[in-house]
């Protein structure tokens, strides 16, 4: 129980040279032992190991990275850590990478393009061996340039970018068509859509599916009902409010995007609208909320843990030298039916007041 605490902060870190000195060998030998080289006699190996332990030697990663150009580190860039969709990607990727001896460091840009570029530069500067990237936008020459400059293997998540990298996509089109057609089957003709901007793949796919589904059923397209400009809780709240507080309000709403959906749900509640009597609702992504909301919400769901796992596997392949053209993988989504969809007009017609015994 001897506590060698010479200094309150900044204890001395043993270098390879000190270990060599203590073990009475050369630094080269220590290095070989640390690397697990077989060309070392058992005797000296033990001696070195002992010295390392006594000095609690930890190789300096910076020096090693500089010498070898390898850091056994992978970076994950996501727009928003607090959004379940993205945190699940991290949680899915981490065990895969960890098992292969890589540390995964996650960076959240808070949807700030400048910070995304900062991160890409930092990753390059810190010689991260690989990257999993979920950028918030698809535009921006500087962004593309930054991504091109990364120089190490990279996997892109659910974005269409002019890059020659492996990608993992989510299926959005079929799921959204199913959702819209489901509502139409219940008799809805005016369906509001709240989702991300068409400037990024998820928004683009979802809007396209919405339009196709409406068209296929011969229903008119009212552009006023399509809200595809933003994301987040407040966005979902504001758009839902705007849609529902009007004469021509839709009888059903699809709010796609995890925080967006949550905002929409709160807006409907605070307006005193009951689901599905006053308005039917289909949500997306926030799988924790769907089943416990009042009532349970029909949702478009996707397995983002799996997306993270697959992205990590793609990356590991490249890290281990697998060559070949860029791979693209599309991960399925599904619609989980619950109690938030019903025929239109089952509530007190023309009124936004909650009905029933409440």
């Amino acid at each position: 129980m001897d506590e060698n605490r010479d200094r309150p902060t900044g204890q001395h870190r043993a270098t390879i040279r000190e270990v060599a000195l203590a073990a009475e060998v050369s630094t080269g030998t220590v290095s070989r032992v640390a690397a697990g080289s077989p060309r070392i006699s058992e005797a000296t190996r033990q001696r070195v190991l002992k010295a390392m332990k006594e000095l609690s030697y930890q190789p300096n990663a910076a020096a090693r990275a500089m010498r070898t150009n390898v850091s056994r580190t992978v970076g994950l860039l996501i727009p928003d850590l607090t959004c379940p969709i993205f945190s699940r990607v991290a949680a899915g990727a981490e065990p895969v990478l960890s098992a292969a001896g890589y540390m995964l460091f996650t960076y959240s840009s808070n949807r700030n393009a400048a910070r995304e570029i900062d991160f890409l530069n930092a990753a390059r500067q810190r010689q991260m061996d690989g990257m999993i990237v979920s950028v918030s936008g698809e535009g921006g020459a500087e962004m593309i340039e930054g991504l091109r400059g990364v120089g190490s293997p990279m996997v892109v998540l659910d974005r269409e970018l002019p890059l020659d990298t492996d990608s993992v996509f989510n299926e959005h089109y079929q799921a959204m068509r199913t959702a819209v057609e489901h509502l139409i089957a219940f008799g809805h003709r005016r369906i509001g859509l709240i989702c991300a901007t068409e400037k990024i793949r998820p928004g683009r796919e979802r809007c396209r599916a919405y339009r196709d589904a409406m068209g296929a059923s011969g229903l008119p397209l009212d552009p006023w009902l399509i809200r595809a400009t933003g994301q987040g809780h407040d966005y979902g709240h504001a758009e839902a409010q705007s849609l529902m507080l009007t004469r021509g309000a839709p009888t059903a709403l699809i709010s796609a995007g995890s925080d967006t959906f949550c905002g929409t749900l709160r807006a409907l509640r605070s307006l005193g609208l009951s689901i599905p009597e006053d308005v039917s609702l289909v949500g997306a992504d926030d799988i924790e909320i769907g089943p416990v909301a009042g009532p349970a919400i029909t949702m478009i769901e996707r397995d983002m843990f799996e997306a993270g796992r697959l992205a990590a596997r793609f990356l590991l392949d490249r890290l281990e030298g697998v060559d070949g053209p860029a791979r693209r993988l599309i991960l399925d989504s599904r619609v989980v039916m619950r109690q938030s969809v019903a025929a239109p007009g089952s509530g007190v017609s023309g009124s936004h007041l909650r009905h029933g015994t409440g």
Copy 2:
């Protein structure tokens, strides 16, 4: 030509020497320009800047870190990225650190002590300048040793550890007392508690508050009603089921811990118990779910963004050389009343069937 060395997919990265050559200056001058030194003539500065841009020069962080022992990097260790409580810490800390020129890298251990130690070692090896640490347990000599070994400033979140570091705590005791007393005021005498193990501060504080509140009201303590052994969705689900599926079932439940609460909520719903008629419920932490659940749930809430911000500020102080004894700060919690608490026995007595029109 060993231009590309061992880099897997490496494009060539310009070094400071190449920039010096192109700008016809010495490497020292380039270094000074990069560092923004004022002792440089405008002419050469421009020349160097131009060369840097043309070669798209990015300083090698590993080399720089090795030379200076500074990486302008901060590590955040959390038990589980997908848990809103922790991801909010990251989201709160990041802007503060970012504004001060530090990059925040988040590592999620998935509540695995071995990975936590791995991270601490990695952080040390990679010369992270500081750490914000939320370890899953409070025990473990190896863990403590690992934390002691981090030689750089550190802020600990809501854990009592035998360390001399700044800490940010959450207030749990008062909030829990308020919650219990609230239930007692409604007439509840058998109140179930589901929370984290008493081996860590949050569980310890909450259990203590529960016992004190019950005792202060002269109510008997039934140890069977206290479930303090785990955490997570499944744990909250299982314990709620176990508690409610018995003759002596409690009339009210407090489920503290974000995923835990969510599991409890699902369990109650799947049992067909209606809240608050069959059982009153107080949740915690998952502020997204509380207001939109059916019915809206009374919750113990705390601002983890603020915890992250404060931890980051503490750390920045130390990074900027502020000296002095370890600081401890306790962040308030509050109980937000909603519709999930009522007098006991307002449901169909002796039955677990949902009542009402559904």
